[in-house]
Amino acid sequence: MLFFRQVATVAAKDLRSELRTKEALNASLSFALVILLLFSFAFSPTSDMTREISGGLLWLVFAFAGALILNRSFARELENDCLDALISSPVSSPALFLGKALANYVLLLGIEFVCLPVFGVFYNVSWAQQLPSLALVLVLASWGVSVVGTVFSALTVNMRLRELMLPMLVYPILIPCLMAAMQLTTPLLAGEPLTGDLFAWLRLLVGFDIIFTALAVVLIDTVLIG
């Protein structure tokens, strides 16, 4: 029980400091909007074209915007040696990690929540036809992104060129998760229900989430303390 309270405390602390400064959130949101805009030059946004690539497009936006949030997650603690203070506090490193992952998760979901209607307006997509299934996909895939991204945020926090290292290392690992999310999101945005084939991708997402959450919790002690 104490463990979950610690997780909630760390997550609340991260969210509070983020919502007060909004440094990562603002940057990441405006970045997401810029990418959404840029995509309109990459292809002609006709309805057929948009229907075909909507899932891929959205998840690229989320992945790019997510990297900005994840970069700040541990880097924020470098000033005034806050990271050392957190590590030496009675909170165990899995609790610290899960709290941070949870905060990133909430921020990422918030960005997705803003981007979806904007995407719908700009590209003329009625995205809410399969809302419960779409929400399920967003919830599962965003957890995968947050959990793997938070591990790498911790891994790269003391490195040279931190801002470059994180996306470079994290995107190849996220490929199965992002691919499943893209495969699921495209038909859902077009209004098709989840059917037989798509459940395989859903299972892949669930498996990815479980395995990488477990691995992250096991390895985070090594990453943070050694």
């Binding site: 793997v148 591990v151 891994l155 790269t156 003391n158 490195m159 040279r160 060129l161 290292m165 470079m168 290392l169 190849p172 690992i173 490929i175 199965p176 691919m179 084939d197 395989a200 991708w201 892949l204 498996g207 990815f208 395995i211 990488f212 691995l215 390895l219 090594t222 990453v223 050694g226």
Partner: protein
Amino acid sequence: MREKILYSLGIVAALFLARNIWKMLVGLPDEAFQGAIFRVIFFHVPAAFTCFACYLTALIASISYLKSKNLKWDSLSVSATEVGLAFGAANLVSGMIWARIIWGIWWTWDWRLTSSLICWLLYAGYLVLRRAVEEPTERARLSAVMSILSFSVVPFVFFSIKWFRTQHPQPVLYGEGKMDSAYRSMLYINWIPLLMIAVIFVAVRMLQEKRQREIDALRRTVHAF
């Protein structure tokens, strides 16, 4: 002494390889549909096996490093990864040469090709990560974690082959692909020298890492004065 053993092993491997190349060029007939180019498979498939054997070695070495904190394991891990990347590149390039002749294109976004490329990039990321950390024990610790995470994503990458349409020939050693037994035994026999070469490279690279550690230690001693 150790180096002499390594170099003589290298000569044996080279001779073995030369014998295999002679056999496959002269002894084996052209394949009925593909002609001469099919011989690429004798390097393509063993290179892939060797590459995965290297990645597996790197995983075991990384776990052992985290358990024992002995830098020897770290140098095994980095050596195996580098050699694995070289064989992975050999696998990709030989496959591309084959594809240019048979399919008419160098590359296609078929899932098996894509997943091999992703694995290659993952392990290239491992080397980039090592470059970014100065302190040897911290570098060893973080790159061990990276190696474990990379290896855990490999099955995810590969299992998705089943769900993506593929134009890559079916695996011939397991699964549905068929292959004449003479070709099949050549494939296994050619794996032996390639694996020997990989082991020699890893051993040489580990020696280099050991020297590097000795040089660093000397440097620190000099600095201390």
